[in-house]
Each structure stands twice: as C-alpha cells, then as structure tokens.
C-alpha cells in the first residue's frame, strides 16, 4: 500500500490562505489505513478548518482515491458542494490528489506527503520492502530486496559499513545483505548468487511516467 504522512496543519492552512470554502476528499484504502485520509481524519480536518474560519462545503471518501472513474462518479453526486468550493483539500496519496484534480477540474491541495510503497508489519507499522524498480531480482536474493532494503541499493553484495548486522545509514535497520546472506545459506542457494553475473539495474524498464495497458485477450500480464 501507499504510505502517506499528514502535512503539518499550519502548512495546510497556508496553502488555503487565499480560499474560503473547501471540499474535503479522503480515500477508503491506503490513506484510511495510514490514518491520513479516512473518515475519522476527514471529519477532524473539517472541524479544525472550521475553527480557523474556513467553510467546508462537504466531504467524500473515494473508494479508492486513485480511481478516476470513481472520483468522477462521486464528484457528480456531490456536484453542488464541489462546485461551491474554492478548492479541494485531498487527504490521500499524490496519485489521489492528481485524480481529484483531473476528475473535478478544481484547484487541489495535498494534505499529505507520500512516502513509499509499504508493507504492514502490524497496525500502524509500515516498512518499505519494494521500490517498484520494474526488474525483480528477489529470486536471486532469497526473497529480500537489496534494491530497497539496502540504503545504497547495492546489487552485488554488502558495503563494509554494517555494525552488528545493522545499517550504518540508519542503525534501526538490519543490513539487507547480511539478511540475504543468512537466508541464501539457509535455503542452500548461496552458490547460485556467487555464480550469478555482475548485477546492473536497467532503469530504462521504468522510465517515468510509466503507463500499463492490460490486453483484452490473453493473460495480459506478460511482455510480448
């Protein structure tokens, strides 16, 4: 899921300084789990903005916030409130903010900063395991991603900087390569890594902005 963090309220207020009436947009998926754009946070935002003298014309929780058709449909349902608003304050990821803009044609403001593609360890604890590089090498690295979980994204083994198995860049993190090494030994696949050619990431496979079109016939998942 996409991990977001709420912007400081003064920054949000600053972005709304030239406007009076705001329509709030939340998201039922990632932003709800991150507690940055679920119903609870949207309602709290409405209250805080009203305390600051803003008019909140209405609010909606898109299901999910990153779906253009869903956004269009919901904005039609709330047409009057959306039209009446000077702008939309969007409490989702950056994708959702842009979808809200495309679907409404209104001025939009992000309420969150979008951080990473996260896994959920337990409620409220997110970790970055995948950086969506477009060229998955997890088969070679024992199911642990060095591209993401090594601070330098080293693909050919560790740097010399691990201290007691912890990363020198952030000692809260385990050294990904020590984890990979332990795992490959455990499953008897260290030799395969040793024999593998020098690893070099191909950034051209994922040139921004990327689009993907599933094919109507056939599996649609594989490159032709």
């Amino acid at each position: 899921m996409i991990i977001t963090k709420a912007k400081p309220f003064p920054e949000i207020l600053q972005s709304l300084q030239r406007e009076e009436t705001v329509f709030l947009v939340g998201c039922s998926e990632c932003a709800t789990v991150c507690k940055t754009g679920g119903e609870e946070e949207v309602k709290a935002m409405r209250e805080r903005l009203e305390q600051e003298g803003k008019v909140v014309s209405g609010w909606v929780i898109l299901d999910p916030g990153c779906n253009l058709l869903e956004a269009r449909k919901e904005f039609r349902k709330h047409k009057e409130e959306v039209t009446h608003a000077d702008s939309l304050l969007v409490m989702s990821c950056g994708g959702g903010v842009q979808i809200a803009q495309e679907a409404s044609g209104k001025v939009v403001h992000p309420a969150n900063n979008t951080l990473f593609l996260g896994t959920v360890k337990r409620f409220g604890q997110f970790r970055q395991y995948c950086s969506m590089c477009g060229e998955c090498i997890l088969d070679l690295t024992g199911g642990i991603c060095p591209m993401t979980r090594c601070a330098k994204g080293l693909l050919n083994g560790p740097c010399g900087g691990a201290n007691d198995g912890k990363c020198e860049v952030n000692p809260d993190n385990d050294c990904a390569w020590i984890k990979i090494y332990d795992r490959l030994k455990e499953i008897g696949r260290l030799d395969e890594f040793i024999a593998s050619p020098v690893q070099l990431h191909d950034y051209s496979v994922n040139t921004k902005p990327t689009t993907l079109l599933l094919e109507r016939n056939g599996p649609g998942m594989e490159d032709k």
Partner: protein, 291 residues
C-alpha cells in the same frame, strides 16, 4: 604500467598514502602534504568527496599531483554520478595520464555535509569495476565501441574486520571478477584479525595492501571502535595513546609496529594519514620500509 602496478607485480612491498583535496580551491596544503610523501610512497590516493563532504574533485587533484611529479590513485565513487558520468570520468582520467583507479561505492550522502542531495548509486563498486574493465576492452557498458581504449590499474577496497567475514570475501571475489587488480583495506590494528582475513582471501590471488589510519589520540581510537564498522583498535593501543606524553611519537611507533607485524602477510601498506602526511617518512623508517 604504473609504479604501483610495477611494485605489486614484481613482489615489492608497495606503499601508498592518502591526501584529501581541500574544501575550496586553495591547493597549497594538499600539495605540501603530497611533498612530505615524495620518494616515500609508490602512489598517492586522492579521496573522492570523502565521507560525502563536498570538496575539490579527485580527478582535478590527481592531475595537479601528476603535474608535480607524483603518481596518483584516482578514487572514484558511485555515489554522485551515474554510469554515463562515471565512464566519461574514467576516459578523462586516462587522457590526463591517470591510470590507477580505486573503485568505491562511497558513503551515503546522508552521512555528509549535503544530506539533502540525491544519492545516485546507479552503479556499485562491482559494476564500476566491470565498466572500467570493459572500457579497456574498447567497449562501454552499452556495448558501443570506443575510439581508442584506455588502460587502467584497477583497485578496490575490503574490510578485513567485517562480520561475517565470508560475506566480505564473497563481495571481494565479485570485485576481482569485476576487474579489481589490487585491494586496499579498511583500517586494521590487530595483526591476528588480519591474518585470519588473509587466509580467507588467499584463494583470490590478488595483492592486498593493509590499510592503517594514523591514530591521533585515544579518543579517536575509541570513536572509531564505536562508529566505524569493521575497525577494532585493541585495548593496548588505546592505553598507549592515553598514557603517552608524545602522541605523535607513540602513533608513529604503533603504526610502524602494525606494519612490521603484518608485512609478511600482505603485499603492501596504505596509510590513511588524516592530515599527518608529514609523519609518514618517520613511520616507514621505523617500520624498515624503503621503496
């Protein structure tokens, strides 16, 4: 063939030391530090934005040293440049008469003085070595042909005190496969730890130069033990630095002793001087090393 390559390939005990470019354009001190090493070392390493602190470039500094009659080792990290810039700098180095290249990944930018900078790491030390090796074969990483191929003497680094050691040797082996022709190590203070490492590295048949950082105080030793991975300064050294009235003399004695005790295990020594280049001649004399 470079003087360093000549020394390593003929079985001479090779000596290198490190000089850091200034933060700014006043190169007086850098050149003075190099002069202390004249006739004492085979080559001088020039660091590349060491510890991710922005400084005068390694390539320009190497050329200045070369013009002054020294043999430089161009340290090149993958932290700040993508593969296009790295390969281009390798070609530039050769055309400027610089052939010793030490290929490193480099520290993370977050540890330096521009923590907001974009960390590049398009290549790592292994793929950088591979790129340099391919350039020598007349091809770039994209497989395109070069008009005139460079020649290099390629080095890499290794941390003997790393745990687990097998993993560090595994990375070292990948560097050799990538193209590394010699290694300079992270600082070593414990000859026995180094012996164990060299036994592990023996199968790779590649020259290893023991790295030593000149200790300036007991506090510095304790700081390194705490903060620098793979560096283990033994208690007796810390005690000696603590109790001495003459830190310079004691540091020289300790460094010379480490060199003497490890000399038979490796092919050379790399002195990381941290501004104490002027004491290198005394260390080498005390260690009985003459190039």
């Amino acid at each position: 063939m470079t003087a360093l390559q000549q020394a390593l390939s003929t079985g001479k005990f090779a000596v290198t030391a490190e000089v850091a470019p200034p933060k700014g354009v006043d190169t007086t001190e850098m050149m003075q530090n190099a002069k202390y090493l004249q006739g004492k070392v085979h080559a001088i390493n020039i660091t590349d934005q060491q510890s991710s602190v922005m400084r005068l470039g390694s390539l320009a500094s190497c050329r200045l040293l070369k013009e002054a009659g020294f043999e430089p080792v161009f340290q090149l990290t993958t932290r700040d440049r993508n593969r296009i810039a790295l390969q281009s700098d390798l070609l530039s180095a050769f055309t400027l008469g610089i052939e010793n290249v030490l290929c490193l990944t480099g520290d993370h930018v977050i540890l330096g003085d521009h923590p907001q900078a974009k960390p590049v790491f398009d290549l790592d030390s292994v793929s950088l070595l591979m790129a340099a090796k391919k350039l020598q074969e007349g091809l770039d990483l994209a497989g395109e042909k070069l008009e005139g191929a460079p020649t290099f003497h390629l080095g890499a680094v290794v941390t003997p005190g790393y745990e687990p050691m097998e993993l560090q040797i595994l990375k070292m082996e990948r560097k050799v496969r990538g193209g590394a022709q010699f290694f300079q190590t992270q600082a070593v203070y414990d000859p026995e730890e180094f012996r164990t490492f060299m036994e592990g590295a023996r199968e790779l048949h590649v020259p290893v130069m023991l790295g030593v950082v000149l200790l300036k105080s007991a506090g510095m030793a304790r700081f390194m033990n705490k903060n620098i991975a793979g560096v283990n300064v033994p208690a007796w050294i810390i005690k000696a630095m603590q109790e001495t009235d003459d830190k310079v003399a004691t540091s020289i004695k300790i460094t010379a002793r480490i060199i003497r005790e490890t000399r038979e295990m490796c092919q050379g020594v790399h002195l990381m001087t941290m501004g104490w280049e002027r004491h290198v001649p005394a260390i080498l004399q005390e260690a009985g090393i003459n190039i």
